[in-house]
Symmetry: C2
Subunit: 353 residues, 2 copies
C-alpha cells in the first residue's frame, strides 16, 4: 500500500496504535505535542522531537543556515510551550552532506545557540554523521512542568472560548514569495540574463514581516507568561504548525467536542492580506491551511471571557460546542462550512517545516 | 574548510566547545554516552540520540527492515546501559522516501517494538515526514539511574583493570561478507547471469553469527545486571560502537590516564578469526577499529580482580596507567604500539551504524 493512500496521520495511527506504555514513568505517550514523563519528583518531563529534511522542510537556496538553526530549535520549543511547559534541554543530530563546510555548520549552530540562549535552553548532546543527499536536522527537546500546570489537547469543553495568539497565514505567504523569487532567479539564469554568480535582487520590499515569519519564527513563550500572569490556565492547547484548521480538529477529536470558528475573527496581518491579494490567493485559506505559524491555539472557560479580552495579542476566534454540532466554520457571509484538515502531511511543499 | 580536514570529532569539538549549560537540571552535557539531567527527584534522566541515514549507516539491499528497526533501537539502549542506567522511553522520527510502502514501515516498527518489549522500553513520540532521498531514522532514548550508580567515561584510575564484554570484530566481518556478496550479486546481474528477479544464494554458510552481529546486535543489559549482582560498580564505562581503540582512547582522555592493552587478550569469536583469514584481513585490526560491536568497555578497581575473573562473558584485556605512560597496546610479539583512534567518522563505510 502506498503511504499517500492513507496519509501521514493514517500512517502514524497505524504504527502507533499497538503501542501501550509499560513503564510507570510514561504518563502520556504518543498523541499530544509532547510526551509526559514522571519519575520520583513532582516535576514532569515533557519530550518532543522534530526531523527536518532538506528538500522537504527547507530549501537552502533562500534559507540562511543561521536562520535555519534558529527555526529548527524554535519548532521544538513551541511544542513544549504548547503543553504549558518550560523547555530546558535539546539534543541536536545532524546528517551533513559533502557540499557543506565547517563554517556552514558553525553558522547553523550559531542560530541554534541564539535560540537556546533566548529561551534558557541547554544543548546537551547529539549525533553528527555524513548524509548522501542533503542536510538533515533532528532535534529533541526536554522541558519541565508541574503536573497541575500541564495543558493537553484533550481538555476542551463545550462553551469554552477558542483563542489564538498573534496572526495566521503570514509564514505561508512568506514561503510563496520566496518560491516566486526563486523561480524568477532560475528563469533568468536559464535565459542567460544573469549568471549564478551575478547579484540577484529579489522583490520583497514591504514584505519583510512575511519573510521573517517563515524564516525565523519565534516560539510564543511570551503568551505562556502572559497567561500565567493573568492566572489563566487553558483547558486545552497546541501550537499551530500544520494550519489552524488541522490543529482545531485535533483538539476537537482529542476532547470529544465540536467547534464553531468565525472566519471574520481569524487574526491576519495587513501584509498577509496584501500579499494574498497580490498572489491571487484566498487569505482565509492561507490562514486555515497554511501552517508554520507557530502561534498558540487554546481554549479557556467561558467565565474567563473578560480576562481573555484584555490579553495582549490574543484573539477569541470561536467557541467549543457539543460533538454532535460538528466542527464548523461560520464564513464571512454567514454560511456554515465544515472544517477539513489539510495538514502538510507527507506530500508537503518544499520549504514547509 | 572541508569537514574532512578536521574529521567528525574535530567538528564536534568545534561546535560544542562554546556550549556551557545554564540550567541547574543539566548535570552532564555533551561528551559522554548520555547527557544526565536532574530535576527535583533523586532519579536522574539519561538522554542519548542517534541518527541513521540510508547509504551511510545501512544498506537496504541486505538489511531487512525488521532487523534495521531492532538495531536502530539497540544502539540507543546500548548508550544508556553504558552509563549503568535503565532505558525507559524512546522517540522515533522517520524520514520516508516514496519507494517505501506502508507495509515496509510496519516491518521497521515491528523490529523497533520487539527491541522495546525485550528491554521494557516505551515508544512515546516521534515525527514522520517525507524524505527526498532514502530512509532516515532518528531515535532519542531516555533512561533513568540513581546518581550514585551513574558511570561516566571520566572515572578510570591508574591500576584499574580494563574489561570488555563479549567479543569484538564480528560485526565488522559480517559487514565485509555482506558487501562481498552484494558485489557478486550486482556483478552477476551486470554479466546477465541472473536478473534482479531471480533467486540469488549468497554464500554465508557457517558465518551466521557474524551476520547476526552486524544486522541484529543486542545491547548488553545482561552485563549490567551481572555487574550489579556481583556488586561491582565500574569506575568508567562506555559502549564499543566505533571500535575498541577509539573508545579506550575516549576513556583515557576523559579520565586523564594512560592504558596498557594486551593484543592477545582481545576477545575474538572463532568465526571472526576464520572470516578474517578468508578475507585476508588482520583480525586484531578488525577488533580494534571495526566498530559496531555494541559491547561494553569498562574499568574496575584492581581490588576487584578475583570477582572480575569470575564474571561470565567478560574478559580483562589490560590496565589503566598514568597518563605519562601513554596509550599503549602490547602486541602478540611483545612490541609496544601506540593506540590510534580510527573511528568511522564522517567518511564511514556504507553499512556501518
Amino acid at each position: 500500500m502506498e503511504i499517500s493512500q492513507i496519509g501521514e496521520f493514517g500512517l502514524i495511527d497505524r504504527i502507533t496504535q499497538p503501542l501501550k506504555p509499560t513503564n510507570a514513568s510514561t504518563l502520556v505517550g504518543v498523541g499530544d505535542d509532547c510526551a509526559v514523563l514522571g519519575f520520583d519528583g513532582s516535576t514532569r518531563q515533557l519530550v518532543t522531537t522534530d526531523l527536518l529534511m532538506e528538500g522537504i522542510h527547507f530549501d537552502l537556496v533562500y534559507t540562511p543556515l543561521r536562520h535555519l538553526g534558529y527555526k529548527a530549535v524554535m519548532v521544538n520549543l513551541s511544542d513544549v510551550y504548547a503543553m504549558n511547559g518550560t523547555p530546558r534541554q535539546i539534543t541536536v543530530s545532524l546528517g551533513i552532506d559533502q557540499r557543506l563546510q565547517v563554517e556552514d555548520i558553525e553558522e547553523l549552530y550559531a542560530g541554534m545557540r541564539l535560540a537556546c540562549e533566548r529561551h534558557g535552553v541547554d544543548i546537551v548532546g547529539g549525533d553528527t554523521c555524513a548524509s548522501m543527499t542533503g542536510l538533515c536536522i533532528s532535534i529533541t527537546c526536554i522541558g519541565e512542568a508541574l503536573d497541575a500546570d500541564i495543558v493537553r489537547r484533550s481538555g476542551a469543553k463545550p462553551t469554552n472560548l477558542i483563542c489564538c495568539s498573534g496572526n495566521l497565514g503570514a509564514a505561508y505567504l512568506g514561503l510563496q514569495l520566496l518560491e516566486r523569487e526563486k523561480a524568477i532567479y532560475f528563469q533568468q539564469i536559464k535565459e542567460r540574463k544573469i549568471t549564478p554568480d551575478s547579484p540577484f535582487q529579489p522583490e520583497f520590499s514591504g514584505r519583510e514581516y512575511l519573510l521573517e515569519r517563515i524564516l525565523k519564527p519565534e516560539a510564543r513563550r511570551d503568551v505562556i507568561m502572559r497567561l500565567r500572569e493573568a492566572q489563566l490556565l487553558p483547558t486545552s492547547m497546541m501550537d499551530i504548525s500544520d494550519g489552524l484548521s488541522s490543529e482545531l480538529l485535533h483538539i476537537c477529536k482529542a476532547s470529544g467536542v465540536g467547534c464553531r470558528l468565525y472566519e471574520e475573527r481569524i487574526p491576519l496581518d495587513f501584509q498577509t492580506a496584501a500579499a494574498a491579494e497580490e498572489l491571487n490567493l484566498n487569505v482565509s485559506t492561507c490562514a486555515l491551511n497554511g501552517g508554520e505559524d507557530y502561534e498558540l491555539l487554546f481554549t479557556l472557560p467561558l467565565s474567563c471571557h473578560e480576562k481573555a479580552l484584555q490579553l495582549d495579542d490574543i484573539k477569541i476566534i470561536g467557541h467549543i460546542t457539543e460533538a454532535s454540532e460538528g466542527t464548523v466554520m461560520v464564513a464571512r457571509g454567514g454560511s456554515e462550512i465544515s472544517l477539513k484538515a489539510q495538514g502538510w502531511a507527507l506530500e508537503k511543499a518544499p520549504g514547509a517545516m
